[in-house]
């Protein structure tokens, strides 16, 4: 449902337990940033809950927890998500507070200055963590031209120096109803919930939604980025660009990822871990985005296998491309995907998040049609996916290599 001010509202009723999830999805993330605002979407995510005139200081998080709930937020490249999961009786409070925070965050100077070192510390933690460092290098290499190139956590320099005025400008530009989705899940009555949303979020002024950057990455040659770090194992992450959310081969991408590296019976696990014993762990995933998607394979192995592992992964992909899936693999991958879908929809939070995410991506019917489309994937679709997106021998990758002691 769309309100007059441009806000999209979604309600997924689920009365299994007296709990609710109230989520706000804002179309702003690191792809909307420039050199001067690198990391600002994430910094803003921290500052939004630092109080409004009506709920000063840490009143919002305090009230949520005192109502028996949890509040959190996350920033990605394409969106920022805020949520309150709570006992049912915290529902009204949750809606009122989120609505107020989205429009009236005060962000006083002292709060901003107190939060700067906290975020800088988080940037340091990310650098200390092998997985996040690896993902950032991979992502930068895979996306040389589009704004997916930049990581979400941003720049310490920007966080240290950005002025309050610039933060507020960024907030007022992006946090407008037409740029937001409110998604509610759990034990609510839809008419009452909609009335409350109209009274709160619905009262906010209509502004045009900001334009979004182009995010289709043109094909490019594979790149390998090697970093030496003081780690105990070799961490490898490689892959290629894939379809956007609207592409017909999206479903085939999920099936390919499952057959290749989606479980213990998957090809990469059988060959690289079980048969050749080259890796300690391996898996693949497909991550759809509003623009170009990401097909990735990750592996952890000992340093001596630094060349063998990517060679074997490429060999498996080349073989898959040439021969396609077996019938048994295709059937199994579909069953695994269907079953995973049910297990991913058990909580009020997951139901609201699925609805919110696919609306944000522009494909609101996805939750209703996903399984149907998975069922339709043929062996030909699987091969077509690989032909279209995978360049033989061409994996862009990032490697964290243990420093020699």
């Amino acid at each position: 449902m769309r309100l007059d001010n441009g806000l999209t509202v979604l309600v997924t009723e689920n009365k299994a337990l007296p709990v609710v999830s109230v989520q706000v999805w804002v179309r702003v993330g690191s792809i909307n940033e420039t050199a001067a605002t690198r990391g600002l979407s994430h910094f803003l995510e921290h500052l939004i809950f630092k109080g409004t005139k009506r709920y000063p200081g840490d009143e919002i998080s305090r009230r949520v927890e005192n109502n028996g709930g949890m509040i959190n937020a996350g920033t990605s490249k394409e969106f920022t998500q805020f949520y309150i999961d709570s006992q049912k009786n915290g529902f009204e409070d949750a809606v009122r507070m989120l609505a107020d925070a989205m429009a009236n965050a005060a962000m006083p100077d002292d709060e901003i200055n107190r939060e700067r070192p906290v975020v800088i510390e988080e940037i340091k933690r990310a650098a200390d963590n092998p997985s996040s460092e690896l993902y950032n290098s991979f992502s930068s290499a895979l996306f040389p031209t589009t704004p997916y190139h930049y990581n979400v956590i941003g720049s310490s320099t920007v966080i240290r120096t950005v002025r309050r005025k610039d933060i507020l400008d960024y907030y007022h530009h992006h946090y407008v109803p037409a740029n937001m989705i409110v998604s509610i899940g759990g034990d609510v009555d839809t008419p009452a919930a909609l009335a409350l949303i109209r009274e709160t979020f619905g009262a906010q002024k209509n502004h045009p939604a900001p334009a979004h950057p182009a995010v289709i990455e043109p094909p490019h040659a594979a790149v390998t980025v090697k970093t030496t770090k003081q780690v105990e194992q070799l961490y490898w992450l490689g892959g290629f660009t894939g379809p956007d959310c609207g592409a017909p081969l999206l479903y085939a991408a999920d099936i390919v990822s499952t057959i290749l590296g989606g479980g213990r019976s998957s090809r990469l696990n059988r060959v690289l871990r079980e048969d050749k014993q080259l890796v300690y762990g391996i898996g693949s995933s497909f991550w759809p985005q509003g623009g170009t998607g990401v097909f990735s394979i990750s592996a952890v192995c000992s340093a001596e296998n630094v060349t063998k592992v990517p060679t074997e992964i490429t060999r498996e992909l080349d073989f898959f491309l040439a021969n396609g899936p077996t019938d048994a693999e295709l059937t199994r991958a579909k069953e695994m995907t269907r079953s995973q879908w049910y297990f991913d929809q058990e909580t009020a939070h997951d139901q609201a998040a699925t609805a919110g995410y696919w609306h944000l991506m522009g494909y609101p019917s996805m939750p209703d049609t996903y399984i149907e489309n998975i069922n339709k994937v043929t062996a030909g679709d699987v091969t077509d996916f690989l032909k279209m997106y995978y360049q033989p021998q061409g994996l862009t990758s990032a490697v964290l290599i243990p420093e020699k002691k």
Partner: protein, 433 residues
């Protein structure tokens, strides 16, 4: 009667009916004595079957540290009638999820599946539990992977600090080593040791099963009887080794790996059967675990001393610990420690205001409900209380006990446990040579 007390009673009445609305829990017994805890939940067409084994890391000998975990990994790698590859395929053919966990006080092997696949899923689960063959080649392969995981643990600053903390806190007790064991014991572990662990602990005497989801109790009993009904009993379990409090000490771990520093401070704390258990859980909720907790509010929000600020108090069969930790810049360590000490002292002297306690209880109740949304978590929670010796029904009573904690209980328990010196581990950034 105070308003708080009345509100609490109303809330509890509500909760009792909730739990009933979530599905009735019944206990059944197979012919060989294995207990089945069953909960029917029809909200989704899915079923989980979780086998709990009463043996965990606590039952390991120092020379066989890691055997519970290693043995469980190899159990998944082939049975008398199915190779590793066949097992993986048959499990994934029905879209089932197999999971296995080793905890300090117990072990767990579980399978979750859409309801149509439940017969096949339980057949596979029983095959893994009853007929593993421990192939020598798989043992060598997995040994390398376990050793690698023990090594890469220390790429994470939390594990670096916590492993050292556990070592000084527990000495030689099994709680002192990581769940995967120690490099030297895993390197030396023989096939016979792994098989012996399985033989001794995966018996009708040591296991019970929790079934939850879209399945009736009759079907649960029939299926479990078919696949588990003729497992033989084992020897009476030996009593577990009690952990005794050691003399507090401090340790500094210099590390060239991390930019940040880490501070961990802790005291001995009551075990799960102790009458102070729920009070200590309340102290943990009051101090850490959430943004409006005292530690986060004070150390991160007010003083900006660190990003990651929290506390934990693990539920344990024997001696536990209450630990406060934070990731921070090196220069802030002394200030942070001083403030933590002041906050501990305040718990001992100043009664927690009624409103703060009510709020904390409300938070706990909400977290409890949110944690019971999936059938996996519902089943796991029932099994968890059962295996820790409190009985599955304690899953509901636990909340009642928490809700009756008073400010005086908190002051009393803080004075009992937070006395004298504490254990401390600091990870500090060191210059590379």
């Amino acid at each position: 009667m105070s308003i708080t007390r009345i509100l609490f009673i109303i809330a509890m009445m509500h909760l009792t009916s909730l739990a009933l609305a979530g599905g009735t829990v019944t206990q059944l017994t197979l012919t060989n004595g294995i207990h089945i805890i069953h909960k029917e939940v029809k909200s989704n067409p899915i079923v989980t079957v979780q086998v709990f084994i009463t043996a965990g890391i606590i039952d390991e000998q120092p020379a066989e540290a890691g055997v519970a975990n290693f043995s469980q990994i190899i159990m998944m790698k082939g049975t008398e009638t199915r190779s590793d590859e066949q097992l993986s395929r048959e499990i994934e053919d029905i879209g089932a999820h197999l999971s296995a966990d080793v905890d300090y006080d117990f072990s767990n092997v579980a399978i979750s599946v859409t309801k149509g696949g439940v017969h096949k899923a339980v057949e596979l689960l029983a095959d893994i539990i009853r007929h593993p063959v421990f192939p020598a080649t798989e043992i060598e392969k997995e040994r390398t992977a376990v050793l690698a995981s023990l090594k890469s643990r220390h790429d994470q600053i939390f594990h670096t600090a916590n492993d050292q903390f556990s070592a000084i806190f527990y000495g030689n007790h099994p709680y002192s080593w990581p769940d995967a064991g120690k490099p030297e014991t895993v390197s030396a572990m023989t096939r016979e040791t792994l098989m012996d662990w399985h033989r001794r602990h995966y018996t009708a005497t040591h296991i019970f099963i929790v079934v939850a989801g879209d399945i009736s109790s009759t079907d649960s009993r029939t299926i479990c009887e078919t696949y588990f009904g003729d497992i033989a009993p084992g020897k009476t379990p030996k009593p577990f080794l009690n952990a005794v409090p050691l003399k507090p000490q401090s340790d500094i771990v210099p590390s060239t790996k991390f930019q940040q520093a880490y501070l961990m401070i802790g005291y001995a704390a009551p075990d799960v059967r102790n009458s102070d258990f729920c009070v200590m859980k309340m102290i943990n909720a009051l101090m850490g675990s959430r943004m409006s907790g005292r530690l986060f509010t004070e150390l991160r929000e007010k003083m900006s001393l660190g990003y990651e600020v929290n506390s934990f108090y693990p539920t344990r069969k024997t001696l536990s610990r209450f630990v406060i930790y934070l990731g921070l810049i090196n220069e802030n360590r002394t200030r942070a420690e001083k403030r933590i000490n002041e906050m501990i002292a305040e718990l001992k002297t100043t009664p927690v205001p009624d409103q703060e306690l009510t709020d904390t209880k409300n938070y706990i109740r909400g977290v409890y409900l949110l944690d019971h949304q999936t059938i996996g978590r519902q089943a796991w929670n029932l099994g968890w209380w059962e295996v820790l010796g409190r009985g599955y029904a304690y899953d509901e009573k636990y909340l009642n006990d928490l809700m009756s904690v008073t400010p005086e209980d908190i002051r009393r328990v803080a004075n009992r446990y937070f006395t004298g010196d504490y254990f401390k581990v600091e990870v500090v950034p060191a210059e590379k040579k």
